[in-house]
Assembly symmetry: C2
Homo-oligomer: 245 residues x 2
Amino acid sequence: MESDLSAFPRPHVAVDIALLTVRPTQDRLELVTLVQDRTEEPLGHSIPGRFIRERHTVAQTVDELLQLEVGISLGRRRPHPLRVYDDPDRDTRAWGLSIATWLALPWRAVAHATGTWRPISPSGTPRGVKLLFDHDRILREAVSELRDRYETSPDPERLLPGLFTLLDLRHLHEAVLGERVRKDTFNRRMREQLEPTGHETTSLSPPGPPHSAHASRRGRPAQLYRHPRRTTSHDGDLWRLPREQ
Amino acid sequence: MESDLSAFPRPHVAVDIALLTVRPTQDRLELVTLVQDRTEEPLGHSIPGRFIRERHTVAQTVDELLQLEVGISLGRRRPHPLRVYDDPDRDTRAWGLSIATWLALPWRAVAHATGTWRPISPSGTPRGVKLLFDHDRILREAVSELRDRYETSPDPERLLPGLFTLLDLRHLHEAVLGERVRKDTFNRRMREQLEPTGHETTSLSPPGPPHSAHASRRGRPAQLYRHPRRTTSHDGDLWRLPREQ
DNA sequence: GAAATAGTGTCTATTAGACAATATCGT
DNA sequence: ACGATATTGTCTAATAGACACTATTTC
């Protein structure tokens, strides 16, 4: 590193965010992403993005972006880093980098966002639109990461409210993965990563904080679970090579 | 995005790289990293870094960095993205971002690099020095990623030459992981991800390209293996939830 | 009672991990 | 022959996946 920093050219730096959520439909849940219509050239569809402000962090930029251009609040959550897009020709106007991020939020927190929520196809891109720049690719990678995380953890993105049943959780997984999963294996794997509350679903609200509507009001009442303590690191020792004593 | 891009402030963007390799010692291999002495303020030890040039990519910048300030050649390899460090106060001279990357190269390609190769402690930081900025943390994360990759794959970073034995491979793993691993389980897991060549180690060189010195010239000759075709994606279906038909 | 859902039990094939035995070399 | 290493075989406990059965509610 040299001393006179002003001698170095500096790129424009944008932050793009793939925003994902799971939305209830008539009979099920579906994974959707937020697509916006650009008002500047080049016109078309894109995911939300914004140039980073002086001495702002990526997280701050995402925060501003969500507040000003999407109309939602980030809260205490942090966006997941995805990658840096550095093709010098990716923006025809000037030399710029894009820091791609992604974030999954519960539907109730983002239902009113500015833009159009579009269902995600099995391949990970939004159905029915072609996005500008490399945004289809960003979205594919974001969806891929989200799906990977849900293969092994109950609800890493905390899309469910504080109390939920295994059926709620399975519906969530099927929406994220875009496929049906086997009930018994699913339940067994997930149960050991969850904390039972001792309470069951009833017609009345259970004691404690209110929780969202559950999948069905028919059938036998189900155990209510909550998210595990963070210490239940149910990963990491998986597929490690056995060490010599 | 607005039209007049010149209105936006732009950060300095540096690329830092954690360079890792496995070096032979008298009786074993050890994981080492390259530490350099800074010639500018703040003085101290750091990993190689450089500001990105106009319309250059991260990979190009790494390439220049390695050629000009380390004296080695990147070849066709690509650095692994790590994360973006965006603390506005991380550099006292000006507002800047750091794009952290890491790369592991075979010892024979980097032995003569400019700087000091320092052994990596079990925790992932170089033994005996304290690095400037957040470089200790970058290194910890790089080593963690490297170790994760070697838990499940024979040689994802291609640190071994074209032909090698399972003993060579195990020595490599033990250097990377910093722990002994069980021979039989190791061999079984790795063998199914490798291609046997049909040739064995002998006093003479085997047919084909020359390969580096093997671990030992004692004992029964061992099968020589080569890296698998990339299609042996021996991952990805691990710990997936079973789908409903 | 029928339908729907929750929860439990069990069988089997597979596999990890450990241990042991055998094979083949250099010295 | 001996030491060192490679390679193969086997035993056992654990577990995934599949399937079936029972339990409890709403309608």
